[in-house]
Symmetry: C2
C-alpha cells in the first residue's frame, strides 16, 4: 500500500482554537502565558487537557512524576506504542506555543484519527511531560529526564522552589501523581512538534524544520578575581581589574564560537560585578559560560581548549580565573529512520523544509536515549521565544501538525 | 626670623587617641566606620567634634549647609583666616581615616598651638565639610561644593536618599544648619591632610605626598543595545550580543588608559546585564565609564576620541551604543606657593616625600577654585580605602600632622 494516509488532513481551525483555549489558562496581559510547572495554573491546564483527551475517547494515565499519557488503542495492543507530545508548563513570562503546540497538535492528530475512523496497527500515545521549563525548581526537563533515567526521582522530588516547596509536594498538590512508575517503557518511537525558538527557518522562509538532533553542551561557572581599588587613585600598573579580565574572556567566548562557523554557540548570558560601584575598580566578576555544538567531537575540542585559553587571558590581565564545569551533555542525534519520515512527509505535503539541529533542550532529547525519536520544528516570528510576544501563524501550526500526523501514521502502521 | 615654629611638635599619641575616639562613633564589627552624612551617627560625630573644639577654646560656627568652622583668633582678627580640615562623614562600609584624619589632625594642630602658647598673626579655622562622600544623596563634596559655588544650594538640598528624605530635611534633623550663608568668604589659604587612598606612596616607601592638584575627569553613562535571543538557537551570524559589545568597550577603556602611561585612569566600575539569564544572549547592558588625567589637555583628547572609538567598536559588534556625558571636571592645580610650603615642611622635618596628583575627589579641589590651597597625603596600607580594612600607622598620621602644623604656622605668620 502506498501512503494510505497521505490524504488525511488535520483541521487547522480546530487546532488553532484549542491552542487559543489552552492559552487562556495562565494568560498574561501582554499576550503570553504564565503556567509554572506543578502550580495551580499548570493543574488547570492539565485538567482542560485531560478533559479534551477523555472527550476524544483516549485513556489517560499518569506516572509517578506526573507525566500524562493519553492512549488510543491500536489493532495490536501488544505492539509498543508510538509516542508524541511535548509539555504544557511555561516560562514565567512565556509564550502561547512553547510546549503547548506539541501537545495540542498531538490532540489534533488524535481527533483526526477519530474523525476519519482510522485504527492504527500500533497503539498511539500522546504525552504531556512534567516540568520541561525548569523555571520553578531550577532544573529543566524533569519529567522526561526521570522517565529516561537521566535524573534520580528522589533527588528531583527534593528540589525546592523559591518559596521552599519541594517538587514532590507540588506534584502531590496537583493530584497528578500517578501510581505507574516514572520510568521508560518499550515504545516504538517518539515525535515532538515544537516551535524553533530561533530565527533560522523564518530567515530562510522554510515551513518545516527537520530536526536531526540536539547539540552537545558544556556549561561553566566562571569567577574572575582581581583587587578592588579606588578608580581615581590606582595607576594602570597596579590595577587588577576583574571586569577587564572578564571582558576579555567574554570576547574569547565569542571568538571561540565564531571560529567554528555557523553551527557553534557560545554565550555569556549572566554576569555580576562586585562591588559594582562606579568609582571602584571591580575586584570580582562572576559569570556563566556555555558552549553548544551539534558535533560531539567539536564540542570536546572546545571544552579541552577554552579553559586553557581563558586561563591565559586571565593571566595576561593579572587576574585569576576559577572555571567550574557544571553541565556536560553529549550531542543527541535523532533516529535516522524517524528523521527520514519527517523529511518525506514534509516533501509529500509540499512544504518547504530544511534540516536543523535543535539549539534548545527538549524532552525529545532525553527520550531519544532509549526510543527512536525525531522532532519537527515550525518557524516562530523573529525567532522569539521565552517571551510573551512569542508568535506563530495558524498556517505554520497547521503545517507542523500535518507532518506530525503523517509520521505518526507511518510509524504506527508500519509493517513489523 | 628663620623657621620660628620648626621646633613645635604635635603630640602623636594624643592625635591617635582622638582618631580612635572618633572611630568609636559608627564603628563596625570589621573595624571600619559607617557614619553616613547627616544621619544620627554623623550628628554624634559632629557633637563629639564640637565638644573637643569648645574644650580647646575654639569658636564654632556652622553655615547653612552644615559646614562647621572652628576658629582660633589671630593677633590681627581682620586678616583672612588660614583654613584647614576635611570631613567626618564616611562611606557605608568606610574606614577610620578617610576624612577623619584631616579633621582630627587639624584639632591636634589647634591643641598644639594652645599648649605652646602661640598666637598666630592671622586667625586659623578648622573646617568639617558636610557630606564629602556622596554615598547617601548620590553626589559627592556637597558642603564644599555649595560653599565654593560649584553647586546650587536649593538643588543640593532637594537631593533624596533611598528612603526619600531630602538632604535639606536630613540637615535640619541634625540641628547643624547654621544661619551663616554657605558661600565662600575671604580666606588666606586652605590645607587638607588626607590618606592617599592609593598605593603609590606605600610602594615607594614615602612618608608624605606633596599633592600638586586634582585630576581632570569625565564620567559617562553607557547603554549598549542588541537583541536578546535564545543562547542555544541563535547562530553567530544573527547574534546581536550586547554583552560582547560592552566587553569590547570595556577593553577599549582599559587600552585608552594604558596608552597614556601611568598618569591616566580609565574604569568601568558598574555594570548591569539584561535579562541576565544564562541561556539568553544579553539584549542590553548598562555601565559606567570614567576617565581621569592630571593633564587637562590629555583628558580633553580622551573625551574627544573615546566616544568615537567606542562607537566604532559597537558598530563592529552589531550593537548600538548610547553614551551620555554625566560629569566633566577640569584639572585643578593647587597653589604653587602652598604646595612649596608642603614640600619645604616635609624636607625640614626629614620625611621622605614625593609629588603626587590626587586621584580621588576632595573638598580641597573645590575650595582651590577660590582659595590658595594644597593637600598633604599620608600612605595607607595596601592603598586600600572606602573599605573597613583601611589602615594607617600612628607614625604615619603623626608625620602628616607635623607637616600640617608647619604649613599652617608658615601661612598664618607670613608677612603680608
Amino acid at each position: 500500500m502506498s501512503n494510505p494516509a497521505s490524504n488525511q488532513r488535520i483541521d487547522g481551525r480546530r487546532l488553532w482554537d484549542s491552542l487559543m483555549a489552552m492559552a487562556e489558562i495562565g494568560a498574561t496581559e501582554k499576550g503570553g502565558v504564565r503556567r509554572l510547572a506543578l502550580g495551580p495554573v499548570d493543574k488547570a491546564g492539565r485538567d482542560r487537557f485531560r478533559g479534551w483527551c477523555q472527550e476524544a475517547g483516549l485513556t489517560v494515565r499518569t506516572d509517578a512524576m506526573g507525566n500524562m499519557f493519553a492512549r488510543r488503542e491500536g489493532r495490536d495492543p501488544s505492539r509498543p506504542p508510538v509516542l508524541f507530545g511535548s509539555h504544557l508548563d511555561s516560562q514565567p513570562s512565556g509564550g502561547k506555543f512553547d510546549g503547548a503546540l506539541g501537545v495540542i497538535a498531538g490532540l489534533e492528530v488524535m481527533r483526526t484519527l477519530n474523525e476519519t475512523g482510522i485504527q492504527t496497527e500500533a497503539p498511539v500515545e500522546l504525552v504531556n511531560w512534567t516540568d520541561e521549563e525548569g523555571s520553578r525548581f531550577g532544573k529543566a526537563m524533569m519529567g522526561s529526564g526521570v522517565w529516561a533515567g537521566v535524573f534520580d526521582q528522589a533527588a528531583t522530588e527534593a528540589l525546592l522552589d523559591t518559596e521552599g516547596m519541594s517538587l514532590g509536594q507540588a506534584l502531590d498538590s496537583t493530584g497528578y501523581r500517578g501510581t505507574e512508575p516514572a520510568s521508560r517503557f518499550p515504545a516504538d518511537s517518539y515525535f515532538e512538534l515544537h516551535i524553533e525558538q530561533g530565527p533560522i527557518l523564518e530567515r530562510e522562509n522554510k515551513q518545516i524544520g527537520i530536526v536531526t538532533g540536539g547539540q552537545a553542551q558544556v556549561w561553566y561557572d566562571a569567577v574572575v578575581n582581581g583587587q578592588d581599588s579606588h578608580a581615581g587613585t590606582t595607576p594602570p600598573s597596579l590595577r587588577k581589574d576583574a571586569l577587564v579580565g572578564a571582558a576579555r574572556i567574554i570576547d574569547l567566548v565569542d571568538r571561540t564560537m565564531r571560529a567554528r562557523g555557523e553551527d557553534g554557540r557560545g554565550t555569556v548570558g549572566q554576569l555580576f560585578v562586585l562591588p559594582n560601584s562606579r568609582n571602584v575598580v571591580p575586584g570580582e566578576v562572576r559569570f556563566s559560560v556555555e558552549f553548544r555544538h551539534p558535533d560531539q567531537a567539536e564540542l570536546g575540542r572546545i571544552a579541552a581548549q577554552f579553559p586553557r585559553d581563558a586561563g591565559f587571558v586571565a593571566r595576561d590581565s593579572e587576574v585569576t580565573l576559577e572555571l567550574t564545569e557544571r553541565v556536560r551533555l553529549p550531542a543527541q542525534p535523532f533516529d535516522p529512520a524517524c528523521v527520514a519520515l519527517v523529511r518525506e512527509a514534509a516533501a509529500r505535503l509540499g512544504y518547504t523544509a530544511r534540516e536543523i539541529v535543535s539549539g534548545a533542550g527538549h524532552d525529545a532529547i532525553f527520550v531519544a536515549q532509549h526510543v527512536p525519536s525525531a522532532m519537527i520544528f515550525t518557524p516562530c516570528r523573529d525567532g522569539l521565544s521565552h517571551n510573551e510576544a512569542e508568535h506563530i501563524e495558524p498556517n505554520q501550526a497547521e503545517a507542523g501538525c500535518q507532518v506530525l500526523l503523517q509520521v505518526v501514521l507511518a510509524r504506527a502502521n508500519r509493517v513489523v
